[in-house]
């Protein structure tokens, strides 16, 4: 989700074309982040729209202290968390949030191909994590927010974030190894023991 500073500044100055171009370039990233957090496509689309309404309101105050992508991710996180607090979940089918048609907008050099393939496999496994673990993992490990930022966004203590993060990583690693057929025997007992916690 790379955005030129000039484009952002033009949108800040009221250039309609620039604002629409900004939305065109970033909406997939915003939607994907929302989908990973809220867990279903309908809510993710609503969050995406609310994110841009908030962006339009707050864009004048964006001072380029962080990158636009980082700022946009924070806005997305806040809107997604507010949405989750407001709404009762319409459904909770595990795996429903998988962005099955994820694509890598960057060119894919050979050395990156394996990491991208692994990331695609992880997408489904992440979607199957319990909601609390999934959200913490997505914000911290996928989008690189600090433990304090995650705690603030989710209304948790930093300690609670660390606990969820530990469980999510442990479970994800075990699931990944099981999916890849490696070290299953050593980890399956522990996975059964920890798999139902959130």
């Amino acid at each position: 989700m790379e955005v030129d500073r000039e484009l952002v500044e033009a949108a800040q100055a009221g250039d309609r074309w620039a604002l629409e171009e900004l939305v065109r370039r970033t909406h997939r990233g915003v939607y994907t982040c929302a989908l990973r957090l809220v867990g279903n496509p309908d809510d993710a689309a609503d969050v995406t729209q609310d994110v841009y309404l908030r962006v339009v309101r707050k864009l004048g105050g964006f001072r380029h202290e962080a990158s636009f992508a980082t700022w946009l991710n924070r806005v997305t996180t806040n809107v997604a968390m507010s949405t989750l607090k407001r709404r009762t979940r319409r459904f909770t089918v595990e795996g429903a949030a998988v962005p099955a048609d994820t694509r890598d907008p960057a060119p894919e050099p050979a050395e990156r191909a394996e990491a991208v393939a692994l990331a695609r496999r992880l997408e489904r496994l992440v979607a199957e994590l319990p909601e609390g673990q999934r959200q913490v993992l997505v914000l911290r490990d996928v989008y690189g927010q600090s433990t304090e930022e995650v705690a603030n966004a989710m209304g948790l203590t930093p300690g609670a974030v660390k606990v969820r993060l530990f469980r999510a990583r442990e479970r994800l690693k075990a699931e990944l190894e099981a999916a890849e057929g490696g070290q299953v025997v050593a980890l399956s007992g522990r996975r059964r023991a920890t798999g139902r916690r959130s």
Binding site: Q12, G14, Y31, T32, P41, V56, A115, L118, A119, V142
Partner: protein, 135 residues
Amino acid sequence: MSCHAVRPLLPARAEELTPMEALIRAEHVAGCSRCAAEAAAYSRLGQALTVMAHLEAEPADGTLERVLIAIGRRRTRVTDPRVLAAAGSAGALVATVVVARALRQRRQSQPAPAWARRLHVPGLPLPAAALARAK
């Protein structure tokens, strides 16, 4: 330090550990192949999760259009503070002109005072109106 004691440190990223915890983990992993394999697996997992940030899902058809329509409705309310300041100044200027013209018209339409009517010469405008026009 036993494997059991070090295990909770293995999933953590380096920046999430205190210097002491990082040292304990590094020393243990250097001498324990099983924990070294675990640490490597977590490292690989962390890298792959970072890559996930660059993967994008395609929203349902119409999502982009919906967003563009929604912000089109709201867009006029928000712009750069400099633009808002300029718009505010322009608005104040327009308001000043409108008020000034209204006051002028009101002054012109007011009947002349009694003393002025007594001095009125047929064929000449009333003093108040003449004064206003002269201004």
